[in-house]
């Protein structure tokens, strides 16, 4: 049952599988492509600031898949049917979290290679960037899932989720991009810790939100 649900969720959330699932990836690449046009082809400047831009692009790309991540399945009663089959909201949200991260984390990490080439980032920066994104994207996915399920029953949910994600994702951004400024892996430990905490609590928060949405 868990495998079947994970397969279904992945089929919708993996890039180029469902409609619009490739959007975050394309957005991420587009920001990285536009940045050199905006600040000019100064290799030194791009190398110094490029890492931070990649982080901002990743954070904004995390907002895109939130629309419809949970709301659609609430509307169609999928979680009700799963509950009748003995799957708790927490379990189905944990599965959704895994599928959401797989559909957006690893593709962004892979896309960081061409982006690093476009921005002329050096080896050590790319190394820190990849480690940081690997540690940070699960946290971004967890925040996204919580926000998506809390705003699912609101009319302007999609617009609101973008605004809500930005402040909540700040710690990940500060420590993740901070590692690049100091060229030091130490603060990535903080990123991983924040992600771990968020990933551990997200299924419970999102599950409670799904249950609450039934009462309205």
């Amino acid at each position: 049952m868990i495998g079947t649900l994970l397969k279904r969720d992945l089929a919708r959330l993996f890039p180029f599988a469902g409609s619009g699932a490739a959007l975050p990836l394309v957005f991420f690449l587009a920001v990285a492509m536009l940045y050199p046009f905006a600040v000019g082809p100064d290799a030194g400047l791009l190398g110094r600031t490029g890492g931070g831009v990649v982080w901002i692009a990743a954070l904004l790309a995390a907002i895109l898949p939130l629309d419809g991540l949970v709301a659609r399945d609430i509307e169609y009663g999928v979680f009700d049917q799963l509950k009748l089959r003995g799957m708790t909201e927490e379990a189905s949200m944990a599965i959704r979290l895994v599928a959401h991260w797989l559909g957006f984390g690893p593709p962004l990490v892979l896309a960081t290679f061409p982006v690093a080439a476009l921005l002329g980032l050096d080896g050590p920066t790319l190394h820190l960037l990849l480690l940081g994104l690997l540690a940070g994207t699960p946290g971004l996915a967890a925040i996204g899932l919580m926000i998506a399920s809390l705003t699912a029953s609101l009319r302007a949910g999609a617009a609101l989720s973008g605004l809500l994600l930005i402040p909540l994702a700040l710690p990940i951004l500060i420590f993740g991009a901070g590692a690049l400024a100091r060229m030091d892996q130490a603060s990535l430990g903080f990123v991983a810790a924040i992600s771990l905490l968020l990933v551990a609590s997200a299924p419970f928060a999102a599950g409670a939100a799904i249950r609450a949405s039934r009462e309205t």
């Binding site: 049952m1 169609y76 009663g77 999928v78 049917q81 009748l84 089959r85």
Partner: protein, 201 residues
């Protein structure tokens, strides 16, 4: 496991308003119950409370076996072809041979069509097929006849009769008259709290 569902002194509310209270029901294997009531009287709420999806305001619900729910939302992915969308639930329910239900409900020709292109009645029939293939002993049906043509209504009646004959329970909330054999009726309006004189302004 005994097929049985019962509700004791059940009360449900929506917002600040108590929809019904003091509702008792007990259904055993083979029972079919038709829940009637005006719009907004709480038929859907009763079904959702019986399914365990809503916490009742008072009283409690007991059931010992799997529940199949059919309401106005059919839980099928609108972008997928009908066959694929139904297959997801069949995998979860462990149903190996879904084709008999497709045949009965006339879905064979629709399996390649994306769910979003289906009409209201066709969607309802797809939801019914999913319910039949779930093989749950308790059926909770919320307006199962809305949008169906005369032929399909007859098929649903037969499906419900067969289900009850083979030891299942069916609880049907509907405005339309039902001609199911041995059908009992529960009028939810009998349990709507009446405003007492001293409460009136």
């Amino acid at each position: 496991m005994q097929t049985r569902i019962s509700a004791n002194d059940l009360a449900c509310r929506r917002g600040d308003r108590v929809l019904f209270r003091g509702l008792n029901l007990a259904l055993e294997a083979g029972d079919a119950l038709h829940v009637t009531g005006a719009n907004g009287s709480g038929k859907t709420t009763l079904i959702r409370a019986l399914a365990g999806l809503l916490t009742p305001f008072a009283g409690h619900v007991q059931s010992a076996c799997a529940i199949g729910l059919l309401d106005e939302r059919i839980s099928l992915d609108p972008d997928l072809p009908l066959g694929k969308a139904l297959e997801f639930w069949e995998r979860i329910d462990g149903c190996d041979d879904p084709s008999e239900a497709y045949q009965t409900l006339g879905l064979k020709a629709l399996l390649d069509i994306p769910v979003r292109y289906l009409s209201t009645g066709q969607r309802k029939r797809a939801g019914l097929a999913s319910l039949v293939n779930r093989h749950a002993p308790i059926w909770l049906l919320d307006e199962p006849l809305s949008g169906l043509d005369a032929g399909a209504i007859e098929q649903v009646t037969t499906l419900v009769e067969n289900h009850c004959e083979s030891g299942g329970i069916a609880l049907i909330a509907s405005h339309q008259a039902l001609s199911v054999y041995g059908l009992k009726t529960l009028a939810i309006d009998d349990y709507v709290p009446q405003l007492k004189h001293e409460d009136a302004p």
